[in-house]
């Protein structure tokens, strides 16, 4: 497109973000501040993820964008369209074919491979924020590894609900050092963070922070000895593809209580139906 640099951002901005990304990869889970730019979309719509994607995208890369696992929801469609226009890159919905996958709230069910990059959109990067409002204090807590308060939240969950009721943005410890908010992915996806061969980058546009999990990094979900970490389970299988090991969305089908459970990852579901049918 005329009048814009490749992938919308100017080269100096991209360089600055890449430099911050290198630092983030060098210190897994550490939040690196960066000079976030205004993007042609409102905060909360993935401006952090878009800036990261714009900085790492090459002309030959194939891009996939998902929102809650689906390729066809508003956020996914508009961001995919954005990069088609400003970078002219090829896009895909197939997880296996993509080089860069920008995601909101899910990690694809299909295992990622080495060389792929997963870019997360993050609303609140600070896992300690809910209990410590001061940024100065949370930075000090990260620096000194004072993470006791994270368990206060989990304790409070068990005291109130009888089990750890945090189901998304479940805090993790990266490489035995930094406690990190994995963005609002369901805790179902937390085990996929551990030792993943793909590079995972996290961008928060409003808070202007980015962080990363390099490939094959140890990622543990916080828990108690007598209340170990557990992922969600369903009594149903996917109504469309029959998968019993994917994250399911409940879909209301009529106003008489009719409902069905389907995979939230549309590419995974469609691929399986193609194979099964």
């Amino acid at each position: 497109m005329d009048g814009y640099n490749f992938a919308y951002l100017d080269e100096q901005t991209k360089r600055m973000i890449r430099r911050a990304l290198l630092k983030a990869v060098a210190i897994p889970g550490y939040q690196v501040p960066f000079g976030g730019r205004e993007m042609p979309m409102p905060y909360g719509w993935g401006t952090g993820g878009v800036q990261l994607t714009a900085s790492i995208l090459g002309a030959d890369d194939i891009l996939k964008v998902i929102d809650q696992g689906a390729d066809d929801t508003t956020n996914a469609v508009s961001i995919r369209h954005f990069f088609q226009r400003v970078a002219g890159v090829e896009t895909t919905t197939a997880t296996t074919a993509a080089d860069v996958i920008q995601t909101r709230h899910r990690i694809p069910e299909t295992p990622l491979r080495a060389g792929q990059i997963l870019v997360f959109q993050v609303p609140i990067p600070e896992p300690l924020r809910f209990i410590e409002p001061s940024e100065q204090e949370t930075r000090l807590m990260h620096a000194l590894e004072e993470y006791g308060v994270m368990h206060v939240k989990l304790y409070e969950d068990i005291a109130r609900y009888g089990h750890i009721a945090t189901t998304y943005a479940y805090p993790v410890k990266v490489d035995g050092r930094y406690v990190m908010d994995p963005s609002p992915i369901p805790k179902f996806d937390n085990p996929k963070l551990d030792g993943n061969p793909a590079l995972m980058l996290f961008g928060a546009g409003r808070e202007k922070r980015l962080y990363a999990i390099p490939p094959h990094t140890r990622v543990e979900s916080l828990d108690f000895e007598d209340h170990p970490f557990e992922i969600q389970r369903w009594e149903h299988s996917c109504a469309l593809c029959g998968s019993d090991r994917s994250y399911l969305d409940e879909v209301i089908t009529d106003d008489k209580g009719g409902r069905m459970f389907v995979c939230s990852d549309t590419d995974y579901c469609q691929t399986r139906r193609g194979e099964v049918a």
Binding site: I131, E146, V149, V152, K153, Y155, E156, A159, R160
Partner: protein, 284 residues
């Protein structure tokens, strides 16, 4: 009559502390030693520098001059003190006997505050997390030390609620549903749960009515004796000082004007300011 033990080791060695915000604002040239198991009261009128001194002693504010040296008793068996046996003393080396509070790094200072010291604020809202339940408040310091067993944390929480005369059945209630006196008890439980050696208290009974104050003082006295705590107690209330403190330091305009045994100071004050202070106490 039982003779006092004079061989108690020095726990806190305060050497010539000065922290001034302006002339006679703050504290100046404070020098004293706190022995193990001793309760030291610091009394004086508002603005006499007693809270500033406490902040410096408790590691919250660096002094302009002087040293605060903490001497850790070495002959005490560590495991017996720790109680639960899961405490991770990580950043603090065990065999180190003398710690200069402001010469060590911030990480180790905070670890020391978390593991071996405690601070009870005047307003329980400053010391408690108002958003989480009483049990989570009591368990926080234990979780910070690495305890990761929910059942044990809860049992410890209930045990401590009993110790401070709170109903253990209210363990899941938020502190804001507690009365002022109960909040103060909760704050004390939260501080003492890690069995600190040294506790700093800033007007622990301030803002409570007299009958609640009396019960709290009674409980504090029992706890101090049964746990063998050393306490630095800041108060403007001479009655509180009389009940809790073994020894008193009277401060005025940032300086110590008189020190001595509590009864000696209150019954036979030597300095004119102390005489004024003692004679100003209202008796019904």
């Amino acid at each position: 009559m039982k003779k006092p033990r004079l061989t108690r080791p020095v726990l806190l060695d305060v050497q010539d502390i000065t922290r001034l915000y302006g002339p006679a604002k703050g504290c100046e040239a404070i020098d004293f030693r706190l022995h193990a198991g001793e309760v030291l009261g610091i009394v004086g009128e508002s603005g006499s520098g007693k809270s500033t001194l406490l902040r410096v002693l408790a590691g919250l504010e660096a002094p302009d001059a002087g040293r605060v040296v903490y001497r850790r008793p070495s002959n005490e068996p560590e495991a017996a003190r720790a109680g639960e046996g899961v405490l991770d003393k990580g950043e603090l080396e065990r065999d180190e006997a003398e710690i200069d509070l402001y010469a060590i790094g911030e990480a180790r200072r905070r670890a020391l505050l978390r593991l071996e010291w405690g601070l009870v604020h005047q307003n329980p809202r400053d010391g408690l997390r108002m958003g989480v339940s009483a049990g989570a408040n009591i368990g926080e310091r234990l979780m910070a030390q690495g305890q990761r067993h929910y059942g044990q944390l809860r049992a410890t929480g209930q045990e401590w609620m009993r110790q401070v005369e709170l109903d253990p059945g209210r363990i899941d209630d938020a502190p804001r549903t507690f009365s002022g006196g109960m909040q103060q008890r909760l704050q004390i439980a939260r501080t003492l749960v890690t069995r600190p050696r040294l506790v700093f208290m800033d007007e622990p009974t301030g803002g409570l009515d007299v009958s609640v104050q009396a019960r709290l003082l009674d409980m504090l006295r029992t706890l101090v004796r049964s746990l063998g705590l050393s306490v630095v107690l800041v108060t403007h209330d001479l009655a509180v000082a009389r009940l809790l403190a073994h020894r008193l330091m009277v401060m005025r305009r940032g300086q110590v004007v008189e020190t001595g045994l509590t009864d000696q100071i209150l019954d036979d004050p030597q300095h004119e300011y102390t005489q004024l202070l003692v004679s100003s106490v209202l008796t019904p």
